[in-house]
Structures are given as C-alpha cells and as structure tokens.
Symmetry: C2
Subunit: 357 residues, 2 copies
C-alpha cells in the first residue's frame, strides 16, 4: 500500500536541503518500487507568516495522517521573539507530543572521510559510533506545573517540573536495549540519581529492565560525568539512553565531537513505527537560499525513515552507501570542505547522491 510521507521544509536552509532528499526519494520511487506519496506542509516561521501559528491545524492533521514526516529545520532571527519552535503547545514540541514521538534516536558517528573535521584528536574519535536515545515527550520539557509566579514578597519566581513515570522510563528503555541488541550490546543510562529523585526512579527502572536483556551490558553514569567522558574517551559508549533535557544537551555535545554536524540525521519515533526525521543541525538562516548548505544530514534522515517507518532497510543501506560514495569521490559542501577536495553546492551534492542510486 502506498505510504504517505509529509514533507515539512520549514525555515532557513530547510527547503533547499529537503529538496535534495526529495530527489533521492523520487528515484527510489521510480527505480526501486518504494511506493510513497509525498505531500508538503507548513511549519515553524514559514507557517507563522501564513497562519499566525508555527503548527497550524492542517499541518498537524496531515502529520497525524502520514506514515512518516521529513522535516528540514525551523526558526530564524525574524521569529526569535515569537517563540516559534517552542513550548509544549507550539511548533516542534507540539508535533512531538501530539504525535507521541517519544523516542529520539541521534547517531553521532564519524565518517572516516571526514576524520579531520573534529576538534578532537584523530585517535580519540576515529571510528566513533554512538547512538543517543533521548526520551522526547516527557521530563521537564512537558512537566506541570510550570510558569512564572509572583511570590508574597513581590518578586517573581520561575518554576518547572521534572517528572517521569515508570511507564515512560520503561518505554524508552526498551528502545535503547533493542537498539543495543543490533549494535555492540552496551547501554549507558545517564541520570543524576545522586541528587534528583526523578532520576533515582529512572535508574531503578532501567536496572530492572536490563534483566529482560541479559545479553546487554547496562551501566549508569551521572550526567556531569557523561558530559566529561564524551570529551575524555567518547569511544567507550555504544548506546546512551537518557531523559529529554539531558538528552538534548548530550546529543548536541556528542554530535559536535564528530566535527560534522552537517552529516548527522535523527529520528523521532512513536510506538508504531511512525516517525519524524530531521537533520541534527538547525536552520542556518545566514546561508539560507544560497545553495551552500549540506544536504547529507537530511538525505541520511530520509535513510532512517526508510529503515524505521517504511520498512525498507535495503533502500536505507543503499542511500547510506551512496552518501559514503560521494564522500569517497571527494565532494564536499562548505561546512565539511578541506584542502584537496572538490567544493560542491547543495544541489550538486544532491545530484551526486542520486547518481549513485
């Protein structure tokens, strides 16, 4: 049956990088019986400018109906004061919660062809391949009560609530353990159990859950130590599982270890293989519309979509191999350019990947 893919190009470089992934998906449709139907919607600033809201009803409806969503990026200077991407009811967080996309998968891997892009010494990062599994619809991002109140003494106080239930912790734990089974069978659960009761429960539930996965080795690490270990010896990690906020921080730190955030995809999944796929990087408004952006993270996000939501592992691998091949050819957008390589534009890079398929 034809699967429905919703494209949400969004803001900044979003439209031009999504366009390259679409070229790739088009080829798979015609050449490899992919059988998807793509439609487009508005999100973020682009939606705000038309509908006065970063997540219009019709976008949400289309997202709910779709089998998978490919997002470019949201946000930009002109909407900064408007909170485009944020707060439970809005933009990105609104999609995540409405679609129940509780599992965020963020690989941080170093392409051997780009080993030099890292700010870390080659021996520290060569072969790096970490998967961060971040809980995405709970924790302090969505906890109630929240707000800013005025105290009796007249001053204001801001407050948010960090909260996790056993069910939520188990659900994301399963995702991490299952991912580890297909990788190096190690899960490191990150918490701050020595200070926060909510993460004390987190640790307890993860420890229990590990009994269902006897082949997987579970370790626990405090978040401050994890932030440190990622710099000291990142290759000690296989799968890292953590809550929404710690995951936000650690996944960005981990992706920067590779030096090539323009290469890193992400997936946000619900319990039934529906997912939203997007590059790990942002909307880069400073280079938007100039055919300069690196489309590979978006193309690799499309590969994750093929794998997790469209049941086409075969095509996911094909796309990943195509990306690797264009790197082998020496093709580089500006963000990953180095001496001796061939500098290409966004669309040239997209075409080069297509040519490999």
């Amino acid at each position: 049956m034809t699967k429905q893919v919703l494209l949400l190009p969004g803001d900044g470089i979003g439209p031009e990088i999504v366009a390259q992934a679409v070229k790739v998906l088009d080829v798979l449709n015609t050449k490899y019986n992919l059988d998807i139907n793509m439609t487009e919607g508005l999100v973020g600033g682009a939606a705000y400018d038309v509908h006065g809201h970063p997540l219009p009803d019709e976008t949400l409806k289309a997202a709910l109906a779709a089998d998978a969503i490919l997002l470019g990026a949201v946000g930009g200077y002109q909407w900064e004061s408007l909170d485009i991407s944020v707060r439970p009811e809005k933009g990105l967080l609104g999609i995540r919660s409405n679609l129940k996309l509780f599992a965020n998968l963020r690989p941080a891997m170093l392409y051997p062809q780009l080993a030099n892009a890292s700010t870390l010494k080659p021996e520290v990062v060569s072969g790096l391949d970490i998967l961060i599994v971040r809980e995405l619809t709970g924790g302090i991002y969505f906890g109630q009560p929240r707000g800013i109140r005025t105290l009796e003494n007249g001053e204001r106080q801001g407050y948010n609530t960090y909260v996790y239930s056993e069910t939520e912790i188990k659900r994301i734990g399963h995702v991490a353990f299952q991912a580890a089974m297909k990788r190096n069978k190690k899960v490191c659960s990150v918490d701050k159990a020595n200070v926060l009761e909510v993460t004390e429960l987190w640790r307890e539930v993860m420890t229990d859950l590990a009994k269902e996965y006897p082949e997987v080795q579970l370790s626990h690490m405090y978040v401050d130590n994890a932030a440190m270990q990622l710099v000291r010896n990142p290759k000690q990690f296989d799968v890292i599982v953590t809550g929404n906020m710690f995951g936000d921080i650690l996944s960005d730190e981990a992706s920067m270890l590779t030096g090539s955030i323009g290469m890193l995809p992400s997936a946000s999944l619900d319990a039934h293989n529906k997912g939203m796929y997007e590059p790990s990087h942002g909307s880069a408004p400073d280079i938007a519309g100039q055919n300069l952006a690196n489309p590979l993270a978006t193309i690799l996000s499309a590969a994750m979509m093929l794998r997790y939501s469209l049941g086409r592992e075969d095509l996911a691998v094909k796309v990943e191999q195509a990306v690797s091949a264009v790197l082998d050819q020496g093709l580089r957008t500006g963000d990953i350019f180095s001496e001796g390589m061939t500098r290409v534009s966004t669309s040239q890079m997209g075409d080069a990947v297509v040519a490999q398929l």
Copy 2:
C-alpha cells in the same frame, strides 16, 4: 586577627592531597605572616563511619564558625549505596546550603606546560581560560516539591522542581559580571529559555542586570548549544554564568577540555567572602593512599582561598607561580605524566611547590 581555616580531608585521596596544601599553608604562615589557624573535621564517608552521618553536627558547627574551608574529596565505593555526598540535607549539599555558598567558581584553564594532555587539538585549546560561575544553593538541586509518589493507576512517578527567584538570579549574576570586569569583560549566560519558563526569567533578569555593567558584553546561549560550543570553539568564552544543574554539567565538560582535571581548583562562596575550596576532581578511591594523586588542584584551591576568603591576593599569586614553576621543572604526577618528564609522588609534588615559596 587570626583567621580560622577548617580542613575537611574527606575520603579517598582527600587526606593525602589536603596534606600537601597544608604544607604550603604552613610555610605561608611562618614565612609570610599569613596568620591562619587550621583545625580538622570529618565529612563524607569518613564522617559516616564514625558518626553515622556524612555531615555531623560538630563538622557543620566548625564550618559555620570558620572563615574558610578546604575540602579534599568525598565518597567512595563502600558508601555508594548510602548516598554519602547527596540530597539537600546531606554531606556536600548540606554544607553548601547551610553555609549559603551560592556562588561556585570553576576555572577551566589550560597550562601551557600541559597543552598535550587535552583530547582536543592543540590549536583549539591553547590559551584556554574560562571561568564558570555556577549557582550552587538553588535550582532543581534544592527545589520543592520533590520525591517519588504512587499515581492512581498504581505506578510510581518521580518528580523534582526547578525553581529560581529574581533575587537568586541577580545575586549570582553580580558575581559573574564582577568577575568578568577583572577578566575579558564577556559574560555568556546559559539557559534553556526556549523551553523552560524558569530560565526565561533567568534570561530576563540577566539582561536587566547587564545594564549595571555597561563595560561587560552579555550574550545568551541555550544549554545544548553551549555544550556543543565548548567542544567546537571553547576559546570564544570568558565567563559563563548558569544555574546549578547546567553548571554541574558544563563545568565538568569544560574542565575535561583541558585534559588535566587534576589541576583545576574550585571555590564556593557566600555573600561575605566565606568560602569552601576544593579540587574539581573526585575522591579517586582506586589510587587512594598510594601517594600517587596529583595535589596541585588542592594547592591551587588553597590559592583561591587566599584570594577570596583570606584577603591575600599576594600569596595567592605566589602559590600559583610556584605551581607553574614546578611544571616548568618537568615534575609530573601520573595523571599528567608525559614522555621526557620527571614522575613524582603526591608528597614530592607538595614538597616541590613548598620549595618554591
């Protein structure tokens, strides 16, 4: 008037590294009119084993009466399940809150003599000199309500409260701006204002406060981006100011950028120059009692004590120069050892610093 210094050697390598700092302080006492009186107390596991509590009343009383406290380290495998260092009413957090030590100063600087110890490329970290100002008695570490409750459906839920008032934010903000005035006049305030209301207030208050320091340039950064920028280009930072939890994470990440966490001191100050001083590293139980640990972070913590609590900037500088001199001599404990250098023990390193005074 004679100032009172309370020594809390604590656990693991704590006693042996504090002993080296004491040698240094003794010399300053006899040779440079420092005029301090040192007494010793129990804290952490060492206190638990004697009194059944990581922060016994008599230690707290002595700490309240002292002008400054020098702490070694707390915790170790044997007390792990006992929560030695933790929770508001206990150990370390108990001292911080009872003594109102709201301002934690954590420098992350690279010693030119140890440039190679970093996992980052030399050009990325050479000359690194960041000061992280972390709020230490508020935020989610101390917020109420907190705990683990059973929901109506029978499952458990953990919860903590992230809370800051305007007064708390201003107070730590002043510390950061004043520190910046003596440095490169840049403050980067780190928050997650796009998601958390408590940090939306944080950002607003910092922005207002900046008007009182027209010479200082204030910027704001989301915590995920800060974790990334510390890896990408750490030298962009001068002073970073942030809340308790983000500060915990970012200061550990920043210190690891130097590759020499055995060199980094810290200070936790109240509003009246009273302070607790301790190395940034932990109790390292695996090498405890073997005369292997690096005492320099503790000695440099004593230097911070001279500067902030004892009004002896002159002696602080002397101690810092002595540390630099022993590094120039090529003396290295195991943690900072490299080819061609002279390996020394904990006490030899202490003696070498003393010899410079």
